[in-house]
Symmetry: C2
C-alpha cells in the first residue's frame, strides 16, 4: 500500500463503495482490503502526488488545518507539538460501525472496520527520520505505543500494524517524514504465522524463539549489527531484502506498547543508529520498517517477542516473488552486516 | 526479483558465494534464494540497465552471440527462430551439482540447484507481448510447456515457475519482450498453499475448487472478463492488485505442459485478448504474469487446476503488505471487470 495511488487511467472513475471490505481468497488464507476510500475524493486513479513542495506540505507545523484534527500530539514548546498523529485522509479501513462478516462459500469477507492514521514525525520539513536526534525518535516510538494502548480499549480491533514507507520507491508520496498506524479487525496472516511458528518452538523447547535467536546471533557474530544494554540488531540469515535488519529487545517482551521510559530512550538511539547506517552506507535508500507486536487482546505471551523489521528497498519485487512467495537476495546477510558494521555514522 | 539489481552502493563489491543457497527463516516457512550470481560479473550492486537501445539489445535476432547458447528454439523461416530460450546470464540457481541440505536448528538451507532461463518472446525488437499475433503467443506457450516437460526428466527438480516482468515498474530491465523460467528444487510456498487449500476443498466437496470457481464466476457474471470454448478469464473477488486477472482452462487439468495443440492456439488468443485489454484500457501498464501448475513429479491431480495470474502493477507494495501479508486494492474487481469488458481492442 502506497500513500496514494498512482496515475494510469484518468478517464476511469471508481464508484465509491458503501464500506471498505476485507475479502478472503477462496484457495488460500489471503485477505485483501478493498477500499475505494484509498482513492482521492473524486475517486479517480490519479497521479501519486509529486513530492510535495515545502510551502504546500500538509505535515509542516503551521499547516495543521490541512489535516484532520489530531488524535495525539507529543507536545513541545516551540511548535506546540513534536510528533503529531492524525487520521489518514485516504483510509484503508473506517472507524465507525461494527465488523459484519459474510460468507457464501465463495465470497467471504468482513466489513473494513479499523483505524488508519498518519504519524507526522516532526514539525519541520525534514525528510529523513535518520536526521532526527535519538530523543525525538523516542518520542515517535512513545506515540506509537500510546496509540496502541488506546486501541486496546476497542473490542472491535484485533491488531495494530505500524509501518513506515520512506522514499518514493518504498511507497511514500509525501516527503515530510511520516509513518502509518493501521489497526485491523483481524490478526494479519504474516503475524499469525509468526505467532504459530514461535508457539511451536516454545512448546517444543520451552523457551522463546526470539530470545534464543538473538543470543545465537550474538555468539555467531557475523550477522550482528548493533548491541546496547537492552537492545540488539542483526541481519537475518534468510533476509528477503539486501541489508534487511531485525531490531529487538534482549529482555523477553511480547507487547511493544509496554516499553518503559528508559527503554524508549535507548530504542530511539538504536533505531537512529540503524537508519543512519543505511543512509550513510547505502546512499540514502528507500526503505520500509514495520513493527511486529502481540495482538491487542493478548496478555503477556511467553512465546512471542516484539521486533522491528527494517527493509531497504534497493531491489524490486516482481513476478517470481508473487508466484512463489520466495524472495531472491543477491547480497549475503553476512557480507551486508560486515559492510554496515564498518560504515561510519 | 528484477531482471537485474539496481544501483545504490557502487563502492560495495559483493564477494561471490561458492553456491547459491536456499535459506529458511527460523520463525515461518519462508525461503529466500541468496545468490550473488544475480549480480553482474564484477559483483557490484549496479544500476539497472537503462532500457536497452535497439542496436545493443542482446535479445534481437542477429545478436544471438550476446546470449548463452539456446536450450530451445521454436523455429521460423525468416529469422531462424520465433521464440528462443537461453540460460539467464545472472541466474538465481545453478544447473550443476546435487541439492545438499543443512540444518543446525537456526540455519536451515539447501544448495540452490535448478534452472534459470530467459524466454525471448520474438526475434524483432517488440516491447509488448500484446502486439504479437495469437499464433505467436501460442508458440511462446508451447516453449514454456516444452521446457517444463524437459525438466520432468531431472529428479533434482521439483517445480517450474514461469513468470513475466513487463515494464520497468514490474521488474524488467530489458524492454525486448521476454519472460523467465525458474525451475526450483522445492515446491514454493505459494504453490504449496494453493495445493493444500485445493486438496482440502476436494476432500470436503469431492470436486475441484477451480472447476467450481470458474463456473461460479460465470453464473455471477460481474467479475467475468473473457470466455471461449476452452478457456475463461475473470477478476478474482479478493484480487491483490487492481485489475488482477485469472485465466484458466474450463476442462479440469493440473499440468500446463500437457496442453494439446488446439488448446495452445486458443490460449494464445485468450492471453492476447487479456493483455490487449490491459494495454488499451490502462495506458500500457507494467504487469507481471505467472503460471501456477502442478509440481513436476506429480501425476494428474484431481484437486489442482493450472492457471495463469496476470498482475497489473499500477499500485505499489510497501510496509503494510510486508508487515501483514494483506494487500490493499482500491479498485473493486467488479468495477474493474465492468470497465475492462467495455475496452475496445
Amino acid at each position: 500500500m502506497e500513500d496514494e495511488v498512482p496515475f494510469y487511467v484518468p478517464w476511469f472513475r471508481v464508484r465509491p463503495m458503501a464500506d471498505p471490505e476485507l475479502r478472503k481468497d477462496p484457495v488460500v488464507e489471503r485477505w485483501v482490503i478493498v477500499s475505494t476510500d484509498r482513492l482521492s475524493r473524486t475517486h479517480e486513479l490519479h497521479a501519486a502526488a509529486a513530492v510535495s513542495r515545502l510551502e504546500s506540505c500538509p505535515f509542516c507545523a503551521g499547516h495543521e488545518h490541512l489535516t484532520l484534527p489530531a488524535t495525539l500530539e507529543i507536545p513541545n514548546e516551540r511548535d506546540g507539538w513534536r510528533v503529531r498523529v492524525v487520521p489518514n485522509m485516504f483510509p484503508a479501513v473506517r472507524g465507525d460501525g461494527e465488523p459484519q462478516t459474510w460468507s457464501d462459500g465463495w465470497h467471504e469477507g468482513t466489513r473494513g472496520v479499523g483505524v488508519h492514521e498518519v504519524v507526522i514525525e516532526c514539525p519541520q520539513h525534514e525528510t529523513s527520520l535518520a536526521n532526527l536526534p535519538a530523543d525525538h525518535l523516542a518520542d515517535l516510538l512513545r506515540a506509537y505505543g500510546q496509540r496502541i494502548q488506546q486501541a486496546r480499549h476497542d473490542p472491535r480491533l484485533a491488531y495494530p500494524m505500524i509501518f513506515k514507507n520512506s522514499g518514493a520507491d518504498a511507497g511514500a508520496s509525501l516527503e515530510h517524514a511520516h509513518s502509518q498506524i493501521l489497526i485491523l479487525p483481524q490478526v494479519p496472516r504474516t503475524v499469525q504465522e509468526e505467532l504459530d511458528g514461535a508457539k511451536r518452538y516454545h512448546e517444543s523447547v520451552g523457551r522463546c524463539l526470539f530470545c534464543d535467536w538473538w543470543r545465537q546471533e550474538q555468539v555467531a557474530g557475523e550477522r550482528q549489527l548493533l548491541d546496547t544494554t537492552r537492545f540488539t540488531a542483526f541481519l537475518p540469515y534468510a533476509g528477503r531484502f539486501p541489508f534487511e535488519m531485525c531490531i529487538l529487545p534482549k529482555a523477553h517482551a511480547s507487547h511493544f506498547e509496554e516499553l518503559a521510559e528508559e527503554e524508549l530512550a535507548e530504542l530511539g538511539e538504536v533505531l537512529r543508529l540503524a537508519l543512519r547506517k543505511l543512509q550513510s552506507g547505502l546512499n540514502d535508500p528507500p526503505y520500509n520498517y514495520l513493527l511486529h507486536t502481540a495482538p491487542l487482546a493478548a496478555g503477556p505471551l511467553p512465546h512471542y517477542h516484539w521486533h522491528l523489521e527494517v527493509l531497504p528497498r534497493i531491489t524490486g519485487v516482481a513476478g517470481f516473488e508473487w508466484g512463489t512467495g520466495y524472495f531472491v537476495n543477491p547480497v549475503p546477510p553476512e557480507q551486508a552486516a560486515e559492510y554496515l558494521r564498518g560504515v561510519a555514522i
